[in-house]
Amino acid sequence: MKKFVFNNETEGIYPLTVQIINYIQNMAKDIVDDDAGFRIKTILIELLTNSLKHMGDDVTRIGIDLKNNKLYISKQDKGRPLQINTRQALLTWPLTHSKFTPNEIAIYGDDFGTLKGRVKNSNQLEFFTEDLDVRYVNKETIMGLNEHYGLMIIARASDAFNYKHKPDTGVNTFTSIIELKQR
């Protein structure tokens, strides 16, 4: 796995994104098409932005790995564990399964869809979205729009997206997986 260090400064987002994309394109040039390129860029920008919001002055490590045409993009830090005030409860770690039925958490959403988390175990959450086909948009739809898109963007741009918290080391890891197709 190749690792990149993010210093958690806004000015570093784009140069690091470009650096990582260049690395991926060199490593997997035959399987990164325009769509995959967009998804990779979007995921990187949102992971780095998420880090800026939650990490302050500390550093964050971005890991890149390619196995069997699956691209793994991970973000690792030792900041606060993921905290989300969901519709059902405030997420605290370790997660307690009994709070959630059926092991799924609605995180946020609007008429177009909901970001959900599936509890894999007490220290792991797998994100996914439930999308709705909205044909008619009126004022009420707009007034109800969600204004927090970060995790939802990563979930939609990924083929799989999860978060793990290691209580013994305090390490938080977000991992996005993209299935690349041979051109």
């Binding site: 860029k41 932005t49 707009i142 007034m143 898109y149 741009a157």
Partner: protein, 111 residues
């Protein structure tokens, strides 16, 4: 200053003077855009021509301003999106919410 504005026909054109539209400037963008709406501008065309990428914070700010515009009987259109930004709008379904035009002239025709 993030937005440079000028009136054209019945619309206010607001050019974003940024290359990177991100967490570092989203709040200021929201504040400037809301101020334009609060001054009575009903139809604001936000021009992204100079912007190379947009993050979730900036999109949230844009949505927040749209809600204010709708409550004031106005609207916001966006123009000058590059391919990746347009794809991002589609990813979060904002292409169904904002009127998206290729350029200002096209947006004025739709105004």
């Amino acid at each position: 200053m993030i937005l440079q504005t000028h009136l054209l026909n019945n619309a206010l054109i607001a050019d974003i003077l940024l290359k990177e539209a991100n967490l570092g400037n989203a709040e200021q963008f929201k504040s400037e855009l809301m101020s334009l709406i609060n001054k009575g501008n009903k139809y604001v065309i936000v021009n992204f021509e100079q912007v190379i990428y947009v993050d979730s914070s900036f999109l949230g700010a844009l949505v927040s301003a749209l809600k204010l515009a709708m409550n004031s009987g106005g609207d916001i259109a966006v123009v000058g999106l590059n391919n990746d930004i347009r794809s991002l709008f589609q990813l979060v379904r904002l292409d169904k919410v904002f009127r998206i035009y290729t350029n200002t002239q096209e947006a004025l025709t739709g105004a």
